[in-house]
Symmetry: C2
Subunit: 205 residues, 2 copies
DNA sequence: CAAAATGGCTAATTCAAATTAGCCATATTT
DNA sequence: AAATATGGCTAATTTGAATTAGCCATTTTG
């Protein structure tokens, strides 16, 4: 990782802990191991660092979204995967998804940073909603749509069913971001949530 | 409202929009209609204004909690209320609760302020979780407990049922805080959520 | 009613943080 | 290998926001 990248990385860490306004250019520089003025050889000013983080994260998320779409489309062709979706398997998938979002550094830090900055600019509010509201609902909605078609789940309203799956996960994620020490408690609750979700919406043969 | 109160009020408004660090003492003073130095006749410094907001809000929430506990205890005695809890009535109650938290100025602004500041201090993280995670789950859990006893709802796991009711409401509330223009969309989704919740957990005679 | 407290003001003061200037060694290019 | 670009540094500079000093009119209180 070169200095320019290291700056983004350390800035993201600091922004996610204290928010943009409480982080000083000198703090970032110190972590990177250089002096504040040297930072200006890499970025025009503090705001440019923030903007570069947003751009970089957008790039990564788009990349990820593209990958998921490919998987999603493949998945659509193979309804068999969903027919064999047992409660155990759903549990494992849900837990994996949760822990990935919770522990992946880029995801976690970026989510916390946006949480702090979401009211500051309209763009950031939209970004937040896209990443943590609309994209997950739409992607998971698609998967659940397949599962309904495959007869593994049943409902009149896939949109609300997806909300019933995702909102508790989102909720528990925000608890862990705020109070990491509650992670074990939330993991237990996560399991209970998924089991009950499966019983409520599952075919229950 | 005297000057001292007006300062808290305007400070809360500003903090909820921009966060503590982006609000200048001069901004608060201007809104109140005085000059910045005059502010120091009322509060020791900027931090003291923030602290006073937290104290005042704690006072109000405790007051509210006390009132709810009284209602809750009364309600416990009168299981009849719950037996006659129709889908329509549940819808109306849920909507009222949602709109109250969304539109009540103190609630909305304080929630947004805590959202921004939650990672800044452990106390604030705990305050946030108390107000928007543990208290609602415990209060609503109590009510749902009565409803299960009364036979209006059925479940093996009241805690998760409560999560299934509340997490989507919390989720939609955060969307509206961030993008108020999505309120109509969220209200529709709220209704659909409650209706489906009732069908999933209701006795369904 | 006199004295003390209150709450406003303008004019400093202080201080910290962002940014710029300008120097220098090293690496890269031609 | 000379010329140029890169990326580091220290020492200013600038700016802007928080806070203090000290004055004054009004209100409250003994």
């Amino acid at each position: 990782m070169n200095t320019k990248e290291k700056i983004l990385d350390e800035a993201l860490t600091l922004f996610s802990e204290k928010g943009y306004a409480n982080v000083f250019v000198g703090d970032i520089a110190e972590r990177v191991g250089i002096k504040a003025p040297s930072l200006y050889k890499h970025y025009k000013n503090k705001q440019a660092i923030f903007d570069a983080i947003i751009d970089e994260m957008n790039r990564r998320f788009e990349e990820q979204a593209k990958a998921m779409q490919i998987n999603g489309n493949d998945a659509a062709k193979d309804a068999g995967i969903y027919k064999s979706m047992s409660e155990d398997r759903l549990l494992k998938l849900g837990r994996e998804f949760f822990l990935y979002y919770l522990h992946d550094d880029y995801n976690r830090k970026f989510r916390k940073m946006l949480t702090i900055e979401q009211f500051h600019e309209k763009d950031l509010a939209e970004e937040y909603s896209k990443l943590y509201v609309d994209d997950p609902l739409s992607y998971q909605g698609m998967l659940f749509g397949f599962m309904v078609t495959a007869g593994v789940l049943k409902t009149d309203n896939v949109q609300v069913m997806t909300l019933h799956f995702y909102a508790p996960i989102y909720f528990m994620l925000t608890v862990c971001d705020r109070q990491p020490e509650r992670e074990p408690e939330m993991l237990k609750l996560l399991d209970a949530h998924i089991i009950q979700f499966d019983r409520l919406y599952g075919r229950n043969e």
